[in-house]
Amino acid sequence: MSLLSKNFSSHWKDYLTSFLFIFPAVLIFTVFYVYPFFETFNLAMREWNGISLMRPFIWFQNFQDLLTDGVWWQAVWHAFYITLFALTIQNAVAFMLALACDREIRAKNFYRMVFFIPPVLSEVVVGFVWKWILEGGMQGGQYFGLLNHFLHSVGLNHLITDWLSNPRTALTCIAIVHSWKGFGWGFIMFLAGLQTIDHQLYEAAKVDGANSWKTFWNVTVPMMLPVIVVVLILTILGSMQAFVLVLSMTNEGPGYHTTVPVTRILAAMTGTKQYGYACAMGVTFGAILIALSLTLKKVESKVKQI
């Protein structure tokens, strides 16, 4: 009997010391992640200015208001626009450059190093550097923004505009700068994936008489599918939530022509002090993001079956 109880207590002592290893992580995680996570849902159903002691529970009123908030849906559309741009153009460029680098070419490591410089820079720095390049002003009869100066000197005067203040160009400029900053990520990941493909597969395809186009579709793409899906999901999650470029380049302007969901949440919180409404936006947008990644996962498994 005494043997059993001794065994029992030493067992629990063992469990306890083991649990101490994860305790700091669990504590930090509970306070700074789990609690805010559930509190977001709680606040999303309340009306609160961030200070007042009263936080009336208003059920789904915030979500109902969100449905008719034109600026919010404009922001969601802008996020989709930036994301679509990154998904197609940025990833296509990254993939083609990776294909080119997968061959034995000279200076491969140099290219690889340079392409990853934009991703290591901060969005704040990148945003202000590009803002200066895209500047639309004139002084002493000269365009001082680099792009306009260039367009003027090659005679494309009809293209000159105030890029970041023109509602028709501002958002596209942000999407381009976002892709400029991001393509290096996709490039490195695609290249790593390409280099794991067994070269015997290519030789087998050659023996079977496949041309390079057929080899690409029947060997490269299927073998790369897992990496492609990872890059696509990371692109979606990253581009939909990108907002620091917006803050540094246009600050949502002109008007609301470059506003994105995260800047809306920020403005509702720090600007108009609608904490509940800000949380409702966050919950809605989070649901959109999850739906997107789940759809992509589903498409992946469908494609795999074929």
């Binding site: 469990y15 930090i28 995680f29 606040l43 190093m113 720095v125 200066w132 500047e135 400029w180």
Partner: protein
Amino acid sequence: MNKYVLYRNFKGIGIHTVMILVTLTCLFPLFWMLRSSLMTQETIFTDQSLIPSGLQFGNYVKAWTEGRFGLYLLNSVIYTATVVFGIVIVASWAAYAFSRLEFPGRRFFYTVFILAMMIPLPGSFVPLTVLMTKIGFINSPYPWVRQLGYVLCMINVGLSLSIILLKTFFDQMPPDLEDAARIDGCSKMGIWRHVALPLARPAIAVIVIFNALNVWNEYILAMLLLNDIPGKPTIMPLQRGVMVFANAHNVEYPLLMAGLTIAAVPIIIIYIFMQQHIIKGLAAGAVKG
């Protein structure tokens, strides 16, 4: 034969032309930033040459003193070092326990960390800021309390991914050495410190690099959580400082570009020295999914 060589050379030139064009696209904006930082408020609007005449470094002196960039840099270094150190310790403890130790709830807690990785919640900085105000981190009269709050939040940001990466690494490690240490009477903490941690060095290098980049470039929490106390030295990190500086000098482009250069150069230099590790780590992550 000749035709084939010609074709291959032609193809090679084509590829290199594209690669060089992309390289220029990557580097030119940075060159333009550097160039513009060496001009004056008068010449910048009129002189558009690639390398303007009369380069001068006064903007750097002004940005450094007026923009407090020295302090911002120091703060960023401190935040990055403490957060990364914290993540490595806390995450490697947890990952070691999840991989090697036996206790009730092990699977449950690990699943929670994985779920947290997969569920994005963009607005969670709202209740986080409320919480930090309630606990007293944000408005504390002591700068170090405010800094501690930011550091703890940033440790949390990098925690899940680091735990998952390290656990995968520990899972693949042969347990023989640990068993030997255990038979020799080493405690769990001793095994973690003297066996598991040294063996996990490659995985820890990846975690250090990515979390360091992430903390160095972080903006939103630094904006929400780190407000200066009047009359005391600034506690803002570099990115926040650049934003404040840029909004204060938004038409003084040479000065602004000097500030941006000061902000960009350290990270570029570190990247160039570490690029082999950075790229290898990222590539390993991509292939494993």
